[in-house]
């Protein structure tokens, strides 16, 4: 190793140390449907602020139970509004930080490129045996799917052919593996973020058929990195983040 290189490395190490001393580590619990987008946003946030973001992806309901039990999360990026609101009401989250970072969009999707038509009329046909839907009690997208079926007056007709997934990730998995021909999933799950055409076939369910899937984020009360956590939650509403959010098929 040349002396110059060694000096350079030492300087770099010192700079990294100095930097690290000011960097906080933010533990973020993120809803499964948003995890791909969150990874991109977190990487950008780390670059812009120097803080470190640790993402855990999972079901919002599970995170609620874990936060209740004292899990060390600083931020909850939820799949719904109800869970963050509940945490705020219980004094377990910081009210001032609560806001809607994304509005999810529901699609009827099939791995078969020819199955789903532009109006979702396939739901009335017998060209399929199983319709995969996330549990309405556990997943906001499941709830939206149920509302859509009710709006279309198809709820009773399709019920015998519905298979219930425990979350929106499994709803997609049932369709991807071909075990269910159709499924209600999040647009963000099937729409490639580079804007290219999604695989299979899909019908983007018109927003009038279901209540908006508003996804809220909030800082958890009692966090030791409150400033960085608040910064991250605010960052979700920044232009840079919104570009990513939009690319993944969400509105806001």
């Amino acid at each position: 190793m040349t002396p110059d290189l060694a000096r350079g490395l030492v300087a770099a190490a010192l700079a990294a140390l100095a930097f690290a001393a000011h960097a906080d580590e933010v533990q973020v619990a993120v809803a499964a449907n948003f995890s791909a987008a969150a990874q991109k946003i977190a990487a950008q946030f780390e670059k812009d602020t120097g803080h470190v973001v640790k993402l855990s992806s999972g079901a919002t309901g599970k995170f609620y139970a874990q936060i209740e039990a004292g899990a060390p999360f600083d931020v909850l990026v939820a799949a719904d509004q109800a869970t963050p609101a509940k945490l705020v009401a219980e004094g377990k989250a910081v009210p001032a930080t609560l806001h809607t970072y994304a509005i999810g969009r529901l699609v009827l999707w099939s791995a078969d490129p020819a199955l789903v038509d532009a109006n979702g009329d396939v739901l009335k046909s017998d060209k399929w045996k199983h319709l995969s839907v996330a549990d309405a009690k556990l997943a906001p997208y499941g709830q939206a799917a149920r509302q859509t079926l009710a709006s279309l007056k198809l709820a009773d007709a399709v019920q015998p052919r519905v298979v219930t997934a425990e979350n929106i990730g499994q709803a997609l998995q049932f369709v991807q593996t071909g075990n269910a021909e159709l499924g209600f999933v999040a647009l963000g799950q099937v729409q490639p973020p580079d804007g290219s055409k999604a695989a299979g076939s899909m019908w983007v369910v018109p927003a009038r058929l279901y209540a908006p899937i508003r996804q809220d984020a909030v800082v958890i009360a009692g966090t030791r990195v409150g400033k960085a956590a608040t910064q991250f939650v605010d960052y979700l509403a920044s232009d840079k983040a919104r570009e990513v959010i939009k690319a993944y098929g969400y509105g806001w």
Partner: protein, 234 residues
């Protein structure tokens, strides 16, 4: 979610465990007999295959089953060609999956019991002109009865407690694939703790009673550490 949904899940679980246990005893006993007596070079690979569900995470098994039994998988194509249709999201699919999952819990105790008999009683029977079937049915099986009962009890109990595989391939359909463990999980996820407690208590009491029964049956000792009893380590 009310109690009748839970009752249905309990009933379905018992039905699943019963069917699986009966089928596994019918298929597992000849397999155990073969494993206990063969000198084939396939013995080791087959034993390893039988024991695989003991160490594999159920989600791995469930994931592969979902792929294999799906319309693009080998098993899925076969069942469709036979006119059975696809197995995921059906009671029949759960039976197949549970049989794989509980296989070692049935085969291993029976195999160990057969091995413990040794060659002498069977040779004695042979000198009395007992044929292979008579030696199996009238000598080996009665001598191995404790192993068979242990196998039945463990297979049944293990199927009742199955969760990961059902979660992966079940689709949570009331009356077809919604069993106690997935119902319990749903209660917990939905923050319905009183309902969750009720089902959890049922499972806990049941499991304790089963194990108590098994220990009563074999007062000589440990369930998992005694190779002579043939209980799998899990």
């Amino acid at each position: 979610m009310n109690w009748s949904d839970d009752a249905q899940a309990v009933w379905l679980t018992l039905k699943l465990a019963f069917v699986v246990t009966v089928l596994l005893l019918a298929l597992g006993t000849p397999l155990a007999w073969w494993l206990a007596h063969t000198r084939s070079r396939w013995k080791a690979p087959l034993s390893a295959l039988v024991a695989l569900p003991l160490v594999l995470p159920p989600t791995v098994l469930g994931f592969y089953l979902l792929m294999l039994m799906g319309p693009h998988g080998v098993v899925g194509r076969a069942t469709q060609a036979l006119g059975i249709g696809l197995l995921p999201f059906s009671f029949a699919g759960l039976v197949v999956a549970s049989m794989l999952y509980s296989l070692p819990f049935v085969v291993q105790p029976i195999q160990t019991a057969f091995e413990a008999i040794g060659a002498r009683p069977l040779e004695a029977a042979a000198t009395l002109r007992a044929g292979p079937w008579e030696r199996f049915a009238h000598v080996a099986l009665p001598l191995a009865r404790r192993g068979v009962v242990t196998a039945a009890v463990l297979g049944f109990a293990h199927t009742v407690g199955e969760f990961g595989v059902v979660l992966m391939i079940g689709g949570n359909i009331p009356g077809a694939t919604r069993v106690i463990s997935t119902q319990l999980y749903n209660h917990v996820e939905a923050i319905e703790y009183p309902e969750a407690h009720r089902l959890a208590a049922i499972l806990l009491v049941f499991s304790f009673a089963v194990l108590l029964g098994v220990y009563r049956l074999r007062p000589q000792g440990a369930l998992v550490a005694s190779p002579a009893d043939g209980a799998p380590r899990a």
